[in-house]
């Protein structure tokens, strides 16, 4: 087990915390923005609650463009924006804007799909009961699509973790950065494989959590 001595465990732990920090903070904002954009896409579509062709097309276009741009390029494009917002291009916080920009349209799309799956009949029934659009969104759309929203959030979280590894390549810290800077560039295989294993474990854990939650909350 001599290879274990090649690893600086404090460094590994810091990188782990950075990855968790980047993923969870960006996931938090991604869920908020994704939900808002997803609801906007859903309610303005041609069979939606508040049909608005123009707003729907614009939102749809922005979402598609953001999803088409590769993450690494998005990060570079967002450098001025990040610098203005965070004040630096280095460190975990500097990765947040690009992570959120990349993941929100993705999650918005998943939300929209989840809303489409909600039985049109229940929305119709709610309208017949005199529910306002706001009541339909908060009391029908969100609770009825909740399992899909949760599993969508897990899928997004997993993407975010791989994005953080990429962000690591341009200096934002985290396990990906560690694996690249120390594992690959300095040829430390122990660090490379350990960091990779930890990332893999996080992803597996998330997937397990997702399956567990889905089984627990889905009453269909």
């Amino acid at each position: 087990m001599s290879w274990l001595n090649d690893i600086n465990w404090d460094q590994m732990f810091t990188a782990f915390i950075e990855t968790i920090y980047m993923s969870s903070v960006s996931l938090f904002f991604t869920i908020i923005f994704g939900l808002i954009i997803g609801i906007l896409l859903f309610v303005t579509n041609s069979q939606g609650l508040i049909v608005n062709k123009f707003l729907n097309k614009i939102t749809d276009l922005i979402v598609n463009i953001l999803r088409a741009v590769p993450f690494i390029i998005l990060m570079i494009i967002l450098i001025p924006f990040t610098q203005a917002l965070v004040g630096s291009m280095l460190g975990a916080s500097a990765a947040l804007p690009s992570l959120i920009f990349a993941a929100s349209p993705f999650y918005a799309r998943l939300c929209c799909i989840a809303f489409m799956e909600v039985d049109k009949g229940t929305i119709e029934a709610s309208k017949a009961m005199g529910a306002s659009n706001w009541q339909i969104i908060t009391k029908v759309l969100l609770p009825e699509s909740f399992p899909a929203l949760v599993s969508g959030a897990c899928v997004t979280a997993i993407s975010l973790i791989s994005y953080t590894a990429m962000a690591g390549a341009i200096g934002s810290g985290g396990l990906g950065n560690l694996a690249y800077q120390y594992g690959f560039v300095r040829r430390n295989d122990a660090i490379l494989y350990t960091a990779t294993a930890i990332i893999t474990l996080i992803v597996l854990g998330l997937q397990w959590l997702s399956d567990y939650l889905a089984a627990k909350i889905d009453k269909r």
């Binding site: 039985d119 229940t122 009961m129 005199g130 009391k139």
Partner: protein
């Protein structure tokens, strides 16, 4: 009272224009159970959805208790919808909520206080016979139980009107009967006006007072259920009535003609509920040799409808005239086949 005046609804799709409702005039009285029957695509759902304005009519007026509801602003419309319950073929329950929470839902929408909501839910669960299932999820219920939840939910805000769109079409015959009985009970006890849309004649026969037959966006016949059963005029109506046992006049006629090639066959239908021996007296008056060759009674909610087929082997025109007149005087409908 619900008044539909010259209702027209045209759907503009990319390819074509669909005239779903083409000038419907109807008035539905307070406290009655009004049936609207028609084949699939006749425009029934569109029409009933115009009553609570889930669909806006292209032209015409919907007047409920003197109020033109298409003229209400959005807020007022939402408020008035709380007083119009609706139930559906596929129940449309929220699967993420329990039975009790589903029933509570319209009360939340109406901003009713929590403790009052829970009182009301208890009362409704009892009324529809779902005691003990309060905490079940819809996925754990049978179709009949789901529709009971649908009914309880529709009644939560004490509506004056209950709209039923094919409410029993997804249920088996026994469950259908139980749900119809529940609806009849609700109609009686709460004095709610019920508008029933269906393509099943048995449903109309069992609980409706009046009936409108819809075909291709128009009302082709309307009246008391027993009158329409006794003598349907329109061909669509006739086809519907034939779906009920023993009411296929043409088939019965052919069968009887085979059995009795000579003499006259007469079909007599009664809708009045009297104990008088009408046929016996008419026979006495005319002195004809009459035998009863087929008879049955259909029970409609507006009274029984009796149909008797008579065979007369001999006699002259004057005797027939006396016979028919004697029957008609007592309110029977007579047809010579």
């Amino acid at each position: 009272m619900i008044e539909l005046i010259d209702i027209v609804k045209t759907f503009n799709t990319k390819k074509s224009q669909i005239k779903a409702v083409r000038g419907v005039n109807l008035s539905i009285n307070d406290g009655e159970i009004f049936g609207i029957i028609g084949y699939s695509g006749a425009g029934k759902s569109t029409l009933i959805r115009i009553i609570n304005q889930l669909e806006k009519q292209t032209s015409g007026q919907v007047i409920i208790d003197g109020q033109d509801i298409s003229k209400l602003d959005h807020k007022e419309l939402l408020k008035s919808r709380q007083k119009i319950g609706m139930i559906f073929q596929h129940f449309n329950l929220l699967w993420s909520r329990t039975v009790a929470q589903n029933i509570e839902f319209p009360l939340e929408i109406a901003h009713v206080e929590k403790n009052i909501r829970q009182e009301k839910v208890k009362e409704l669960i009892k009324m529809v016979g779902l005691e003990g299932r309060e905490n079940a999820y819809p996925s754990e219920l049978s179709g009949g139980q789901k529709q009971r939840v649908g009914i309880a939910r529709a009644l939560a805000n004490d509506p004056k009107i209950l709209l039923c769109d094919e409410a029993t079409s997804a249920l088996d015959p026994e469950t259908t009967d139980a749900i119809l009985q529940l609806l009849a009970k609700i109609n009686k006890e709460l004095n709610i006006t019920i508008v029933m849309i269906t393509h099943q004649m048995e449903v109309v026969q069992k609980i409706c007072n009046r009936l409108a037959v819809m075909d291709d966006g128009k009302i082709v016949e309307q009246g008391l259920v027993k009158d329409i059963f006794a003598s349907p005029q329109n061909s669509t109506t006739k086809r519907f009535i034939q779906t009920i046992n023993g009411t296929d006049v043409e088939k019965t006629r052919q069968e009887l003609k085979k059995l009795y090639p000579y003499g006259q066959l007469v079909r007599v239908s009664f809708t009045n509920n009297s104990d008088e021996p009408i046929i016996a007296r008419a026979i006495k008056k005319c002195n004809l040799e009459v035998s009863i060759v087929n008879a049955h009674i259909n029970h409609t909610s507006s009274g029984p409808l009796g149909v008797t087929y008579l065979h007369v082997s001999d006699g002259d025109d004057a005797q027939y005239e006396i016979f028919i007149k004697a029957l008609e005087e007592k309110g029977a409908k007579v047809e010579i086949l």
